[in-house]
């Protein structure tokens, strides 16, 4: 990484640190009641306390578990279904319009239906998370498969490639940029729905932690939880970026 990029990054960190300092000042001066705004020192102390003495680690794992399960199921189902629908023009013309209608529907609205069917349980949460996370995957995969360069299909016909070979060697790699961006969106949806379901159903997770902290007016704990959720969001996005960069190396080259 070249020098100037490094310097700018450092300066940027300094600015962020400055904001944290400002936050600390506001908290110290009690410009906002400490019931609502704890200083960064108290938030940090709560974080440390939560991990050493308290159950914060368990809560973190709980949320991550919910996210991971939902996202995993959604990825497999979303890619498989999306591949099937996206690669067939007939299926697309029958199914795609309905999907387009459902696209702007807030997916959290399925939660009451899920509660009606499964009660305020873990299964309800997992169902909701998987259901919510499927949509970005499905839509992106359909788009990716539908957009495969037709010339490549002609090449595959000329080479007498088998159906399976066409899917795995041509369609899937071609659709991978779209699939990966769908996965990114799915992760965000999975995180949000995990938190909402944990709040509603009282499941073991950060959503529940922040709700309890809020109810007992323990603002430091509350902020610690929110920060952790931000960290999850950041790390998962980072992980996706790294994966994307590796798998999509071929996109960056060229003039």
């Amino acid at each position: 990484m070249n020098r100037s990029v490094l310097y700018w990054r450092a300066a940027s960190f300094a600015v962020a640190a400055g904001f944290v300092g400002l936050w600390q000042m506001i908290a110290n001066q009690r410009l906002v009641s400490p019931v609502f705004l704890p200083g960064p020192d108290r938030a940090w102390a709560s974080l440390v306390r939560g991990f050493t003495d308290g159950d914060l680690w368990g809560k973190l794992v709980g949320t991550l578990g919910h996210m991971a399960y939902g996202w995993f199921v959604a990825s497999i189902a979303g890619i498989a279904l999306g591949a099937m629908i996206g690669s067939s023009r007939t299926m697309r013309s029958y199914v795609a319009p309905s999907l387009e209608f459902l696209r702007p529907l807030p997916v959290s609205a399925i939660i009451p239906v899920a509660i009606a069917m499964l009660g305020l349980t873990q299964s309800m949460a997992l169902f909701v998370i998987a259901f919510g996370a499927i949509w970005p995957m499905l839509l992106a995969t359909i788009h990716g498969f539908a957009a495969v360069e037709p010339r490549l299909y002609e090449v595959s016909r000329s080479l007498h490639m088998s159906r399976l070979a066409v899917i795995f060697k041509i369609a899937l790699p071609s659709a991978s940029p779209d699939i990966l961006s769908g996965m990114r969106l799915s992760l965000t949806v999975a995180l949000i729905l995990s938190v909402v379901c944990e709040i509603l159903a009282g499941l073991d997770g950060l959503g529940h932690w922040v709700l309890l902290s809020a109810r007992s007016f323990r603002s430091a704990d509350l902020f610690a939880g929110v920060i952790l959720l931000g960290v999850i969001g950041y790390l998962t996005a980072l992980a996706m970026s790294v994966v994307e960069k590796r798998l999509l190396r071929w996109r960056s080259g060229g003039h």
């Binding site: 940027s12 600015v15 702007p104 009606a116 949000i192 909402v196 709040i199 709700l211 809020a214």
Partner: protein
């Protein structure tokens, strides 16, 4: 050759008819499902007693208010970041740190600070809307044809004029697209907040219907939420085409 329109409707219509027949045949008694005819009746009923209209208002008001506030903040910052590269680079870490926080995580904070009602929902929606608009308007400003910036320098436009006469009009199509996307997000976040905790609006209505063990009303609200979302999106697409038409050769993700 079946026309495309008919093909599009075939699946949903067939599904609804099948569901209706099945539900009637087994004399469906369920807390979570209801025959489509009952759902339609419940929807009409909710219109007749006005409850659905109040709920819709109670969702759309905070959604639009949050969109406006978050949009204004996001737009101002986005344009500033797009124009002043120094500012952009200095703010990078701060933005990357705050952006990933899911808006829903702020729910408890907003709750204890503002209590139930419009205000806490507006705050959460605003927070959610800031980011897509910030990112996209920054990209929109960054993507302005450099030739236009040269022209503005040659004409010696004042900074205010430059923003008003060149930057905003040139970036407008993509900024409009950003608002269109953010509007969808605003609706989703508003409904989600209501489902999670806020006792007003369509989200609360659908939760109440479920708790009252009235699946036909619950599904009616679900359908209505879908319709509202669809109309909102379609309306904005029509507006976009109308305002920008062929000039907005914008890469449309929707």
């Amino acid at each position: 050759m079946i026309p495309e329109r008919v093909k599009a409707l075939l699946l949903p219509v067939a599904a609804l008819v099948a569901l209706e027949i099945w539900a009637r045949a087994i004399h469906l008694q369920s807390d979570s499902l209801a025959p489509p005819s009952a759902v339609a009746a419940a929807l009409v009923g909710a219109f007749q007693d006005g409850s659905i209209l109040i709920a819709t208002r109670d969702t759309l008001v905070p959604a639009f208010a949050g969109l406006s506030i978050g949009g204004a903040i996001g737009l101002a910052f986005g344009i500033a970041l797009g124009i002043f590269h120094v500012f952009d680079r200095l703010m990078e870490v701060t933005i990357e740190a705050i952006r990933p926080i899911p808006s829903i995580a702020l729910l408890p904070i907003a709750l204890i600070a503002l209590g139930f009602g419009y205000r806490m929902e507006i705050v959460i929606v605003a927070f959610a809307c800031i980011w897509p608009i910030l990112v996209l308007s920054r990209a929109a400003v960054g993507g302005i044809e450099p030739r236009l910036m040269e022209v503005s320098r040659a004409l010696r436009l004042s900074p205010a004029d430059r923003v008003r006469k060149i930057i905003i009009p040139a970036a407008l199509p993509r900024i409009f697209l950003a608002f269109r996307l953010a509007a969808g997000i605003a609706l989703i976040v508003a409904v989600t907040v209501e489902i999670a905790i806020n006792p007003i609006g369509l989200g609360a209505a659908i939760m109440t219907a479920q708790q009252a063990l009235r699946p036909e009303l619950m599904l009616a609200y679900l359908l209505w939420i879908g319709i509202v979302g669809y109309l909102l999106n379609t309306g904005l697409v029509v507006a976009q085409n109308h305002l920008f038409g062929r000039a907005a050769l914008v890469r449309d993700p929707a």
